[in-house]
Amino acid sequence: MAYINVKNISKDYSRREANGKCNTIHVLKDVSFEIEKGEFVCLLGFSGCGKSTILNLLAGFETPSSGSVEIDGREVTKPSTRYITIFQHYGLLPWKTVQKNVELGMEILSLSKKDRAVRAQHYIELVGLKGLEEQFPSQLSGGQQQRVAIARSLAVNPDILFMDEPFGALDPVIRNKLQNDLLKIVSEQKKTVVFVTHDIEEAVYLADRIFLMKSDPGHLEKIYDIKIPHPRNRNTDDFGQYRKFIYNKLFSIQEGKPEYII
């Protein structure tokens, strides 16, 4: 039995239209997949295809309209510190310092005040933010804020990280650096990662497998095994091949036919 086991999930929302009628919209339809422990999976697809919805279901923030989500043999019914979600806009508490933000999740671990501080310190150093402990999030750059969010999640030692376009708001240089740091940390700590992105290159660079999604209603279109060893180089032929395959699939371009650009 796989570590994460998603069986035939669908998700419907009812939405009130301008004319006052309630419409049911099918956001996800009959999605099934399995993820093994320690895998790095990217969910890739256009805006609105239901990537965040899948993540919310996996993380237990929402429940599926039908089907089931199991993690480690148990049905997911509510959030847990065993799987932590990292958001595009970081989700840091602006009224807490970096140190206090990282200590946030330790409230339910019965640790002494000193142990919390030591542990927070460890993860702040791990993500390279030593010296910024007493800053507030608003005093940090976007990249630094996302590092704080990563430190905060690692500090509760989760088995899984769910990441929803975590680097979407960052400039390319910072983004590449964070991608490398993330790969290093999760392989060292043997975390399972489900990572949402709509950037093909990012997905090919990071993922063991890419789940390509399409919409209306949201479903898994194709799964790609990325068999390039780490560290990956964006300029190799292999990399380019994957990028091209996935691009063509995403934009429904038939192989062999010329690509028209209007």
Binding site: F87, L93, W95
Partner: protein
């Protein structure tokens, strides 16, 4: 510096208009005293102790009424904001009570509890309580969903979430309502004291009227204005300090 100059100029001009009105208006000087006489009356009330006594009585009532309304308003607001059934049950009645001017409660409260500190305190409480309560209850629903998700993810209890997440997240809105409530409470305090008490600044105004001492009357009015201004300044400072504590600049 420029600010100070403008402030000084503003007062000088006001004093000149005041003096001008007296020169042009041909009022009975006992009914419309000039600034100098008011200053003398102020000195008189300071030296005979009545002013300080009045200020002390007013500030005491104000402090009690305002603090109780602030604490009760915020705590009950958090409760109503988090328990939707309670909000929907109480909101209709609150909306009905709210437009009743606090002063309109006065005769009823005086008949019920007699004159003294209590009616004035109740009035201040009523003036501050409802705005703070409703602002807090409504603000609870404006908390960004992402913070609540984070709280759930990290296993923070519902109760702890209220004080660790909700309260700081909506603090700017609460502070704003506390600021406004402070102003209205001070305004209503004076009118409360004019009806239900035998001491305090509001009472001094009534007393001065009864004794035909318009100079003391105007002096007291000035003191009320100055204290209101200082209170506003202080809560502004407090607001800034707490916002800074919460990392919001």
């Amino acid at each position: 510096m420029k600010h100070l100059l403008y402030s000084i100029a503003s007062f000088v001009i006001a004093l000149m208009i005041w003096q001008l009105l007296i020169l042009l208006g041909d009022f009975d000087s006992a009914l419309f005293p000039n600034p100098w006489h008011v200053a003398q009356a102020l000195a008189e009330t300071i030296s005979n102790g009545t002013l300080l006594e009045g200020i002390a009585a007013s500030l005491y009532r104000f402090a009690v009424g305002y603090l109780v309304s602030a604490v009760a308003g915020v705590l009950l607001g958090l409760l109503l904001g988090n328990v939707n059934v309670l909000f929907r049950l109480s909101n209709p009645v609150i909306q009905l009570i709210r437009p009743i001017a606090p002063v309109a409660w006065m005769p009823f409260i005086v008949l019920l509890m007699g004159i003294g500190d209590t009616p004035a305190i109740v009035i201040i409480f009523l003036a501050g309580f409802f705005p703070v309560l409703l602002t807090t209850a409504r603000a609870v629903h404006t908390v960004d969903d992402i913070y609540l998700k984070v709280a759930r993810n990290y296993g923070i209890t519902k109760f702890s979430t209220i004080f660790q997440i909700t309260l700081p997240a909506i603090f700017p809105q609460i502070a704003n309502s506390l600021h406004i409530a402070l102003g209205t409470s001070w305004i209503f305090l004076v009118s409360g004291e004019m009806v239900g008490t035998q001491s305090g600044l509001g009472f001094m105004i009534i007393d001065a009227r009864n004794n035909m001492r318009t100079d003391i009357l105007l002096a007291t009015m000035l003191v009320i204005g100055v204290i209101g201004f200082i209170l506003d300044l202080l809560i502004g400072k407090f607001e800034k300090k707490v916002l800074k504590h919460y990392g919001i600049h």
